[in-house]
């Protein structure tokens, strides 16, 4: 991801334009515009008239009333949209699977539009038989289905120095979780035959950035996939159509999209993306390299700045948690900024290195709260506070910020991204 190089404060507008606040809530508690002619005892138009027939929506889209649930960008972050990022609207989603059209995007030279007939994957280097696979070849090989999260190493990277962006979409929206269908990378390497001195592989994209990253061979043989489907359908162009690498639990940058080449070598390549970028600069001016695993992390997605509370009373706090080191084992929620914690309820399936959904149910009497969540994983790792993380890494790392997020829920139901001390 790109650093916020320019601190141009472009937008000065208030963010919570949609949040009417508790005061505006009507008798039924529904603050937003409603039309009495559609409400009982009246019979609305949609009950009286025929709707669209089949085939009118050959590829279905969400309801027109959901038009605001879209990926969004932060214009001051980058110099150009071709080398930039858009964010998943986490505040508007539930469950663990991200819809394909809402998965965040990170491109370095725009979206390559690859004709699947002309797609080729080259596998060479320290192998017995250098090979080229067509898409059809890949689809003939044995395939598996795996649900994994993908998080950009720079997710929450703008928050190292303090609360900055007022929306979970922007603070945490560089993550998504889908089901991939693909060939285990091990099967492809077996087809070519590895030389005995093989230790690393380099994955390279076929886009205009030709993004390349080094991956230790042990990981490649363990659980990496050469994937061509997400959530059942072919990969979206933004996600690497027709083929991308899946590297479970590791930073998104190594999940090379539009995968065109795999080269086997005996040492890492030290490419620009694993030296000048995606290295974690510490206070003494030295930087960690090859920080592949994404540490356990969680965030409350609702309520959050883009999803304020509209009513007092019973409320479901909802959030997402994930870990690059294994299954999420527990998520705790705090209502008082981390003084006291209670285990949240994880609902839905829990997969290895996938998102889990957690809920905490509260009766909210309108008092201000400081909401936090804290994830734990199968290795015993506990998501640290932002201050604990800063104590070790200082504030120049850009990448791998998995510190605990605090949302201040105000008496009027609005929510703000805050720092606590």
């Amino acid at each position: 991801m790109t650093e916020p190089t320019d601190k141009t404060r472009a937008s000065r507008r208030r963010f919570l334009v949609g949040a009417a606040g508790l005061a505006a809530a009507g008798a039924g508690g529904h603050a937003l515009a409603e039309n009495a002619k559609n409400l009982p005892p009246n019979v609305p138009d949609w009950t009286r008239r025929l709707g669209d027939g089949v085939g009118v929506r050959a590829y279905g889209n969400p309801s027109k009333y959901e038009k605001d649930v879209v990926r969004r960008t932060v214009s001051w972050l980058t110099a150009t949209p071709e080398s930039s990022v858009s964010f998943t609207p986490l505040h508007a989603l539930d469950g663990i699977i991200t819809p394909n059209g809402l998965c965040f995007e990170r491109h370095h030279s725009g979206i390559a539009e690859i004709d699947p007939n002309d797609y080729r994957l080259m596998l060479h280097g320290l192998v017995d038989k250098p090979l080229i696979f067509t898409l059809e070849d890949l689809q003939r090989l044995p395939r598996v289905n795996r649900i994994h999260f993908l998080e950009c190493a720079a997710n929450s990277g703008m928050e190292w120095r303090g609360a900055q962006l007022n929306g979970v979409q922007y603070t945490h929206g560089m993550v998504h979780c889908v089901q991939y269908t693909g060939v285990p990378l091990k099967i492809l390497l077996d087809q070519a035959g590895l030389k005995t001195n093989a230790k690393w592989i380099m994955a390279e994209g076929g886009d205009a950035a030709a993004m390349n990253r080094s991956i230790p061979l042990a990981k490649a043989l363990d659980d990496c996939l050469v994937a061509y489907r997400m959530n059942g359908e072919m990969l979206r162009p933004e996600q690497g159509y027709p083929v991308r690498l899946v590297v479970p639990g590791w930073e998104g940058n190594v999940w090379v999209k539009w995968l065109r080449r795999l080269k086997v070598g005996d040492q890492p390549w030290y490419t620009r993306e694993e030296t000048a970028k995606y290295t974690d600069l510490l206070a003494d001016g030295k930087a960690r390299k090859f920080t592949f695993e994404m540490d356990a992390k969680s965030v409350i997605t609702s309520p959050s700045p883009q999803a304020p509370l509209k009513q007092k009373g019973f409320t479901v706090i909802s959030g997402l948690a994930w870990s690059g080191r294994g299954k999420v084992s527990r998520v705790d929620v705090s209502l008082d900024g981390g003084r006291n914690w209670r285990a949240a309820r994880i609902d839905g399936p829990v997969f290895d290195r996938a998102c889990v959904r957690f809920y905490a149910e509260i009766d909210w009497n309108g008092e201000p709260l400081l909401l936090q969540s804290r994830a734990m994983d199968a290795t015993g790792y506990v998501q640290p506070s932002k201050d604990a993380l800063r104590k070790i890494r200082s504030v120049n790392s850009i990448y791998h910020n998995n510190g605990i997020q605090t949302w201040a829920l105000k008496a009027n139901g609005e929510v703000e991204n805050v720092e606590v001390g």
């Binding site: 858009s86 390549w269 490419t271």
Partner: protein, 228 residues
């Protein structure tokens, strides 16, 4: 039908059945198997795509380029974004200066201050630059423009000619600036099976607010990313 004839008939039927049965191809788990899928890659095919270069120069193509030749390429194809002296025009990556800033409050990561190897720069320019015209430079232009960027960073002198032969003469200032991921040791305290559940800290105060900084995009006015 005699008993032996019946037996022969049923054996034939069994045989036919066996021959007609589809072959189950599922092998033992994890056993390497050759599926006969994939096509031999020819040296010519590989040569066209094999563009990566390692720190030791493996993969560097034939050709050469001087700082002086590189200046022309750079002013022509790079300066509009990166600035005439690598200082960056606007928000594009800065290529020069920044020495001594890595431990400061405002680290400036450039080719001279941060990149550990010549190959990290050269390989990147070769595959991705110029932005919007990737893989359009000749090998000589590639060597020349890299030499010029090194010169902007005072890593090579004005007379330097970069080639596979002179590759090893280039010493990047921050080569020793990186170390392997040590989170499992340096952050061992985060593996804490029994985290505190109650009265974990004194009263909590809000110390910073995103609304004060106010750099969040406005949902109503922003161009939508699009649900396709």
């Amino acid at each position: 039908m005699s008993r032996s004839a019946r037996l022969a008939l049923s054996l034939t039927a069994l045989l036919v059945l066996v021959l007609a049965a589809p072959a189950w191809a599922q092998g033992k788990k994890d056993a390497a198997r050759n599926y006969g899928i994939g096509h031999a890659a020819t040296p010519e095919q590989i040569a066209g795509w094999d563009i990566d270069v390692r720190p030791d120069g493996q993969g560097a193509p034939p050709g050469h380029g001087s700082v002086k030749e590189g200046e022309k390429v750079y002013l022509d194809k790079c300066a509009a974004c990166h600035g005439e002296f690598g200082e960056s025009a606007g928000r594009w990556p800065q290529l020069a200066q920044g020495k001594g800033t890595l431990a400061s409050n405002d680290p400036v990561k450039t080719v001279g201050s941060y990149f550990p190897y010549l190959s990290s720069v050269f390989d990147y320019i070769r595959r991705a630059m110029p932005f919007g015209a990737a893989q359009s430079l000749s090998n000589d232009e590639l060597y020349a423009v890299t030499a010029y960027v090194l010169n902007l960073n005072d890593i090579v002198d004005d007379k330097f000619v970069l080639s596979k032969q002179t590759w090893g003469q280039v010493k990047m200032p921050n080569q020793g600036g990186f170390f392997d991921d040590d989170r499992d040791k340096a952050e061992k305290a985060f593996w804490n099976a029994k985290p505190c559940m109650s009265d974990c800290r004194p009263t909590v105060k809000i110390t910073g607010r995103a609304a004060v900084i106010d750099v969040t995009p406005d949902e109503k006015t922003q161009k939508r990313g699009g649900v396709e």
